[in-house]
Each structure stands twice: as structure tokens, then as C-alpha cells.
Amino acid sequence: MADEMNKNVTMPEPSSLEPMNDEFLQSTTTQSASMWSAVFRRLRRNKMAIAGLVIVILVVLMAVLAKPLSMGNDPYHMLNVNEAPVEIGRPELMPPMRSHPLGTDELARDAWSRLLYGARVSLFIGIVASFLCIVIGTIVGLISGYFGGWVDIVVMRFTDMMLCIPSLVLMVILSAILKGGVFQLILVIVTFGWMSSARLVRGQVLSLKEQEYVESARAIGASGWRIMFNHLLPNTMAPIIVSFSMSISGTIIHEASLSFLGLGIPQPIPSWGNMLTNSQNYMFSAPWLIWWPGLAIFVTVLGFNFLGDGLRDALDPRLKL
């Protein structure tokens, strides 16, 4: 639908005629290793991007070091009555204390260790699902853009159709059919999440395939697949990386939303989404439980958004994503 618009509305962009700055020129003429160092140099100057990177690294560390950081608490272990301090008298919904920094949840499990192990699950879903979305979208976009003709028409009509589907509703249906679990959730998110990167890559390929290097590759007899994966793919990497970073944040929010509707990761596996959902019922009696998972989601998503925004500016400021 929208691609038809692009075809008819192409106007020369004045900014594309301007001379590029030295750094950019340098980065494109020398080897790819130095392109990445130029990108990193530009990224380093962007305070927001660095803040994002720091947040992302901290969250990843939290997930990796969940075991040592959890201070001997097991996220699945339900405390006994005699493990609770006498003055509280019950092991469930204990307020924060020294041995349980975030208190315990309604099943007397340590909230701090669940938050740490939840980081593993939420990040795993975010990263794997986004990665699969990008891989599928890239392959679809490459094929559609490169081959053109009826292949393009069929593939893009299908993509448009998937984009028109109210995805949250269909996600709810699909997760109700598949009934919980980390991999099922990833499948649900990927099924309704690959389309935007397919459109993105296709758009890039459409303009790239008219360039001389593709023509010369074809002239020396390179196969279609070789041109697609060795020549076109590396040149579409910039937008792909940016949309990967942005899509991780989207996926983490999706996981939380599906959990909120009762369809996320099932208990007892800890995830930020289902921690939020469960603690919602104790919002008034144990408000400290709902604080941290939500804050963790917010900060992580903010980090990935900052990083994605900075990466876009560093890789190609003219990119619109």
C-alpha cells in the first residue's frame, strides 16, 4: 500500500546532494573495520547513546550474574513459616528486609532473585524474538526487493495483509491456542513482528540494486543469491541494526502486555511481565512488589531506545525509522 506511494512520489532529496563530511567519506572508502570504528567514535560523542549502552550492559550483567547477585536466594523456593522473622510472622508478602531486599511475593518467594532471573527470561525473549523477526524480515525483504515482478507483488501483498491484522488481538488468540511457555511466546511475537523489517529491507534493496556494483557483480556472472547476501545485505546492515535495537524494546513491552492480559510466561518461571501481573493483585497491601518489575522494564526499554536512537544517528543520520 505505502510502497505504491513511494514509487509515485519520489522527489530528489536535497540533503542527498550535499557533500558528505570527511569522516563519513573516510569511513566508506576504507575497509569496513574502520567504518565501525568511525561509527563507534560518533556513538561515543552522543551522551544519550552512551547512557543507553550503559543501561543495556548493566541489565545484561544483571541477567548473567543472576546467581551470585541473588544472595543465596532461589527464585523458585517458597519460604517456610520458620524462615520468616518472628515479628512478621508469615513468609508471604514480606516487606523489604536485609535478607530479602525486595521482600517476598504472594507465594513466599524472594522478589529480588525473581527480578534477577526475570531479567534473563525477559531479555532472552526480547533479543531472540527480535533477532528472528529481523532475520525473517531481511530474507523476505531481500527476495522481494531483488527479484521484483510477481514475486514482489505476492510477497508484499502478504506483508501488507499481515500489517493490517490487529496484531495484539491475534497475538492474544495465538497465545491462547499455544498455551504459554517461552518458545511459544517467541513464536507468537515473531509471527506478527517480522513485517516492518521486511518493508524496510525491501525499500533499501530497491534503491541499492540499481547501483553499479550490483550491475558489475551481475556482469561477472554472480548468482542472484550471491548478489543478495554478499553485496546487498552488507549495505542494508545500518537500518537493520537500528531496527533490531528498537525492536528489542518493543518486544519486551509486548511480553509484559501479553502477561498483563494473562497470556505471557506461565508461573513458576519468573519474567518481568508475569511478576507485574501477579503483584497487581497485591498493589494496595504490598505496593513494593509492583514497583521493581515495572521500573526494570521501563529502564531496560529506555536503554534500548536510547541506544537505537544513537546508533541511527551514528550509522546514518538521514535514516528515518
Binding site: 500500500m1 505505502a2 506511494m5 509515485n8 512520489v9 522527489m11 536535497p14 540533503s15 544519550m48 501483498r157 502478504f158 501488507d160 495483509m161 500489517l163 493490517c164 491484522i165 490487529p166 496484531s167 495484539l168 488481538v169 491475534l170 492474544v172 488468540i173 495465538l174 491462547a176 491456542i177 524494546s249 513491552i253 509484559a256 502486555s257 498483563f260 492480559l261 494473562g262 507485574l276 497487581q280 498493589m283 494496595f284 505496593p287 509492583i290 518489575p293 515495572g294 522494564i297 521501563f298 526499554v301 529506555l302 531506545n305 536510547f306 536512537d309 528515518k320
Partner: protein, 339 residues
């Protein structure tokens, strides 16, 4: 232009068929909706059999689907001949259309208020951010934009509820209106109160849901307005306008903003349907009885006709949203012609 619109409308037909087929298939994968009726002790088995026959559910899958399409199309275009998009399994005796018509005013009020609110906030701040790039105001605006884009809506909703509803007690914690209003010192039923008080009470109940629902759009729109304005104010014709001595206000609003609006219009057109998805979450948080809740109940309760009707309405909204955006595009920007 007319050719373009005709072609685009015709293209919607295969999309409609594809979406409805996939949704229909997924919904039936969940289980047999008529089988659920058997669980209800008040419904006799032969009644269920009769209903199944009446709604062609005793026929093969593809035939069933075909009858559903027929029913949907007739009910949509010739309502007097249709059966109101099918009947509701969860609320026997009600048609899908009746159920939807009951719930839609709530969601429309919520959605439109959120849309207007998001636009009114995002536009001025986005413009300010662009014309004072890298100022403190720009950084604050950018921070709020990212705040909105990164916040999980329902958690934010719950937090606002804790703060304004419970701690401060300024706003109600849910529902659409208070049951009893105080008029001249005496308690009066909501519907008996003067309309101005009804309105004020409803508005009070809508504040938090609207803020939560518009949060995400506010953030991303602000960024779009900013980047779109930034691109425009660097163009030569803006410099020309400055050079010939046009007042800054005219330059900003007449020369720059009009050109910057084109991508924003597309964005608004495309984000219309996402409000319904947002409503699914917001209505759940604030226990509002609208389309969002109906959607979840229908989809999880395997209420096939209601679910189908809602999904199709939403899909049509998406399709017409993008069509509308393309048309408005041409209206706003005379350089664009559709061949």
C-alpha cells in the same frame, strides 16, 4: 485521483479475504464455540444442534467460512437482511452488532480524547524542540518523548492510580462514572443529576485513562514532529523567506509547518487503529466497559462471531486509515499526484 482511490479500494478486497480467513481459522483452532454452549445447563442439546444448523456450523470448514463472509457482507451493507454479524456465544440472545454498539461509545470517547490530547501536547513541544534544537527545552522534550515511548502503559496506569486515586484521592480509581452524585447536599442517582455534573463526573473518570492511552503516541509523535520540522527549516525556501524579511511567525507556521505536516498526517492516519489495541490494556487497568474488554472476552471466550466482527472492524480501520492518510497527503501537498 479517482482512479487511484478506486484501485486502492479494490485492493482492499483480497486483504479483507486474507485477514478474515486467517482470523477465522485461528479462532476455530481454539476449539468448537458451539461445544461451549453444551456446558451451559440451561441450554438443551437439541437447541445447540438447531443453532449449529442455523449457523451452518455442521458443514465443512470452508463452507462455514463462506457463510460467515456472506453474513458479514450482508449485515454490513444491507443490515435489514443480515443477522447482525452473527450471535454472541457468551451472551446468548445478543447479536454481535448489538454488543459492539453498546460498547463502542465508551471506547470512541476514550480514543478520540486520547488522540486530541496527544496531538495538542506533541505538536507544540515538537515544534519548539525543532526551532530551539539543543536547548534545555529541547532536551527536556526529548527526555519526555523517550519516557513516553519506553513506559509500559499498564504499569504507568497502575502507578498513576496508586498516586492520584489512592494516595492523593484526587481522581476516581476506575469505572465510567460514580453511581451517586451529590447535588445540593443530597445524593442523587447519576442519571438523574444535571447533565453538566454528569459530564464533569465522566470527564474526571476519563483523565487517567486518556493520559495513559495517549502516552505512547505523545512520545513518538513528538519525535516525528521534531525531525520533520528540523528537516524543513533547513531548506532553501525558508532561508529565502527570511531573506525577504518575512516575519518569523509567518515563516514558522506558513512556510515551515505546512510542509512539515505531511509525514505527521500519515502518522496520525496510521496510529488510529493502535488506539483500539491500547484500549485493550487501558480499559483493563481502569475497569472501563468498552471495546477493549469486549475484545478480550470474545477472543478468549471463543465467542467466534463477536471476535470476528471486532477483528474485521479493526482491520477495516487499519486499511481505511492508511488509505485516508494517502488521500490527505495529496490534499496537503499539491506536489503529490497519484497516477
Amino acid at each position: 485521483m479517482r482512479n487511484f482511490i478506486t484501485r486502492r479500494v479494490l485492493q482492499l478486497i483480497p486483504l479483507f479475504v486474507g485477514i478474515s480467513f486467517i482470523t477465522f481459522w485461528l479462532l476455530t483452532l481454539q476449539g468448537d464455540p458451539f461445544h461451549q454452549l453444551l456446558l451451559n445447563p440451561h441450554i438443551k442439546a437439541e437447541d445447540v444442534a438447531r443453532l449449529m444448523h442455523q449457523w451452518n456450523w455442521d458443514k465443512p470448514f470452508l463452507v462455514r467460512y463462506f457463510y460467515w463472509v456472506k453474513e458479514f457482507v450482508t449485515s454490513t451493507f444491507v443490515p435489514s437482511h443480515g443477522n447482525g454479524w452473527g450471535f454472541s456465544i457468551l451472551a446468548p440472545g445478543q447479536t454481535a452488532r448489538a454488543l459492539i454498539l453498546q460498547k463502542i461509545p465508551m471506547t470512541l470517547t476514550l480514543g478520540i480524547s486520547a488522540l486530541v490530547f496527544a496531538f495538542v501536547i506533541a505538536l507544540p513541544i515538537g515544534i519548539y524542540s525543532a526551532i530551539r534544537q539543543y536547548s534545555i527545552g529541547d532536551y527536556i522534550g526529548t527526555f519526555f518523548a523517550f519516557f513516553g515511548m519506553s513506559m509500559p502503559a499498564f504499569w504507568f496506569g497502575l502507578m498513576l492510580l496508586l498516586l492520584f486515586g489512592l494516595k492523593l484521592g484526587w481522581l476516581p480509581i476506575g469505572g465510567m462514572h460514580t453511581d451517586l452524585l451529590t447535588v445540593n447536599g443530597s445524593q442523587v442517582d447519576f442519571y438523574a443529576a444535571p447533565w453538566i455534573m454528569q459530564f464533569a463526573d465522566r470527564a474526571k473518570h476519563l483523565i487517567l485513562p486518556v493520559v495513559v492511552l495517549s502516552l505512547m503516541d505523545v512520545g513518538s509523535w513528538m519525535r516525528y514532529v521534531r525531525s520533520s520540522m528540523l528537516e524543513v527549516i533547513r531548506q532553501d525556501y525558508i532561508r529565502t523567506a527570511r531573506a525577504k524579511g518575512a516575519p518569523e511567525r509567518t515563516i514558522l507556521f506558513k512556510h515551515a509547518l505546512r510542509n512539515a505536516m505531511t509525514p505527521i498526517i500519515t502518522l496520525i492516519g496510521l496510529s488510529l487503529p493502535s488506539l483500539l489495541a491500547g484500549a485493550m490494556i487501558t480499559e483493563q487497568v481502569y475497569s472501563l466497559d468498552g471495546m477493549g474488554r469486549l475484545t478480550i472476552q470474545a477472543v478468549l471466550g471463543n465467542d467466534i462471531f463477536v471476535g470476528m466482527a471486532i477483528v474485521m472492524m479493526d482491520a477495516i480501520l487499519v486499511m481505511s486509515g492508511s488509505l485516508l492518510a494517502d488521500i490527505l497527503y495529496a490534499v496537503v501537498d499539491p506536489r503529490i499526484r497519484y497516477s
